[in-house]
């Protein structure tokens, strides 16, 4: 990853924090009150930056080093903002201590204050409740997404709190930006206004609980590279009723006439329903995102795929781009789950640079020491891993033990939460 991409997000956050602090930095106030004000503005700047980092725009993601990276920073910026904003009212109240404890409580209490402070409290409580739901893994993705976006309301309430305090000069543009980012995300991305229309051309069952779907663009097709993923919302077909939610899918092939192929495994309610999808179903597609397998060095490769994690490697092999000697270890639960294995065997037979080890592992994580090449054979290899989080985590540990440096281990382990 280029240096510009590496520093882009930290730089953005730094600007987001320092800008408002520079504007609002108070002079001649006691330390507690100064800190309270600075923490409030820093939290405000971080929240606004984290709203920008939740946008799913392919070009923006490219500048900022990828969607997964943006999401990771989005979470950290949001969390840091929350902690700073919790400290903000406490420090303002602490300003009255130790001489006047009653005044300290009155500064904090919403009951003895006017609307600006009520709104401040409301904003903080919205963030508090919104974040609590964010950490609840039991909530379905669709409901979770809306609860998470509702955190944006907390940001808007916080900015209104500032407006009611009579601070309108930088707050009005900031409020405009917050509404722009939220509207952009909800309308262009969640409602799919920016997505491209596609139609399902073919559906092939490739394993148990797994289909491969080919999508044909109805207008301009997206430029998709092997290893990238796209967001797809499947709508209605002749008899099929889609769930309409955008889900990420790694492409398993992209070739003829901008056609995109996706492997879809039944992992949740929507993807289970998608197993019965039929040709003629309309879809909206957004992307493409990610750069997995795109910046390979001219060194031997070890690819390890678990289950549906085979799709980025398959897309790469189908595109006929293999230049380096490559070992592909493909793990799946049982023979019934061995999607694409015949095609992979044919690809390995046709290409002497590719060596394939396909293996059913059962329900448990297999003994990685016997599966992976030994330390000597791994020297100088770049390793690419894609599969369930537990498997990827186990593989990372095993590869590090075998002497592979972290900079030579590349992951595709995308999660939207």
């Amino acid at each position: 990853m280029s240096v510009v991409r590496i520093v882009s997000i930290p730089l953005l956050l730094l600007l987001g924090v320092l800008g408002p602090i520079y504007w609002a930095f108070p002079t001649g106030l006691p330390v507690a009150r100064t800190s309270g004000i600075v923490f409030g503005w820093a939290g405000c700047g971080l929240l606004l930056s984290s709203l920008l980092l939740m946008l799913r725009e392919a070009r923006l993601a490219n500048w900022l080093g990828g969607l997964e990276r943006m999401y990771r920073w989005h979470h950290w910026a949001g969390m840091a903002a929350y902690v700073l904003l919790l400290a903000h009212p406490l420090l303002l109240a602490a300003n009255a201590l130790p001489n006047d404890r009653e005044l300290a409580w009155q500064t904090l209490s919403p009951f003895s204050q006017g609307r600006p402070v009520w709104l401040g409290w409301l904003s903080l409580l919205t963030l508090m409740i919104g974040l609590a739901t964010t950490f609840d893994r039991r909530i379905s993705y669709g409901r979770w997404r809306w609860l998470h976006i509702s955190l944006g309301i907390g940001v808007v309430l916080g900015l209104l709190h500032l407006l009611l305090l009579g601070i309108d000069e930088p707050v009005l543009p900031l409020l405009g930006l917050a509404i722009l980012f939220l509207g952009w995300r909800i309308l262009r991305e969640d409602r799919g206004w920016a997505a491209h229309p596609y139609i399902v051309q073919h559906v092939n069952p490739v394993a148990q609980n797994m289909v491969e779907v080919s999508l044909r663009p109805l207008g301009d097709g997206l430029a998709v590279r092997p290893g990238q993923f796209i967001l797809v919302a499947f709508l209605d077909g002749p008899a099929f009723r889609g769930c309409g939610e955008f889900h990420p899918f790694t492409v398993s092939g992209s070739a003829v006439k901008d056609e995109i192929r996706l492997g879809i495994k039944a992992l949740g309610d929507c993807t289970r329903h998608l197993q019965s999808i039929e040709p003629g179903t309309m879809a909206r597609v957004d992307g493409a995102f990610g750069g997995f397998l795109s910046e390979q060095d001219a060194v031997p490769q070890l690819w390890v795929a678990g289950g549906i994690g085979i799709t980025p490697f398959l897309a790469f092999l189908r595109a006929g781009n293999l230049r380096q000697p490559t070992t592909l270890v493909y793990l799946y639960r049982s023979e019934a789950d061995a999607a694409f294995v015949t095609e992979l065997e044919q690809l390995a037979t046709a290409n002497p640079k590719l060596s394939l080890r396909a293996q059913a592992t059962g329900d448990r994580l297999p003994d990685l020491n016997t599966l992976l090449p030994d330390r000597a054979s791994l020297a100088g290899h770049d390793c690419y891993l894609c599969g369930p989080p537990a498997m990827v985590s186990g593989l990372r540990t095993a590869l590090t033990r075998l002497g592979v440096k972290p900079s030579h281990i590349h992951l595709e382990n995308f999660e939207f939460r």
Partner: protein, 123 residues
Amino acid sequence: MMRRLYLSSTVLFWLLVTVFWAGGLWLPPAAESVAVAADKPYSTTELAKHATAENCWMAIRGSVYDLSAFLPDHPSRPEIVLPWCGKEATEAYNTKTKGRPHSPYADELLVKYRIGKFAADKP
């Protein structure tokens, strides 16, 4: 990690809010801090002599307040408050933002800065 940070910061926040509440409730200041001052009358001319940020008096609802010490603490921008130094500012105080008056909390805070009563007709 993130979840742990959320839980610990939230718990600590409520703990400190409770401490502030208990502090205000059970341990009120020993002496009434309100300045019972002074029914000394101040005229418009006298008031007008204190019209700078460092020396700012205002007449509000018939009383005169020396707000010099409080001004840096006022949440609004200085441009909003400073023009009222040295003047009768009841109207401005009552119609703070979009015609709304200041909060009861502000009223209470104000009392601490009272230095006398406003005698508009005094020469």
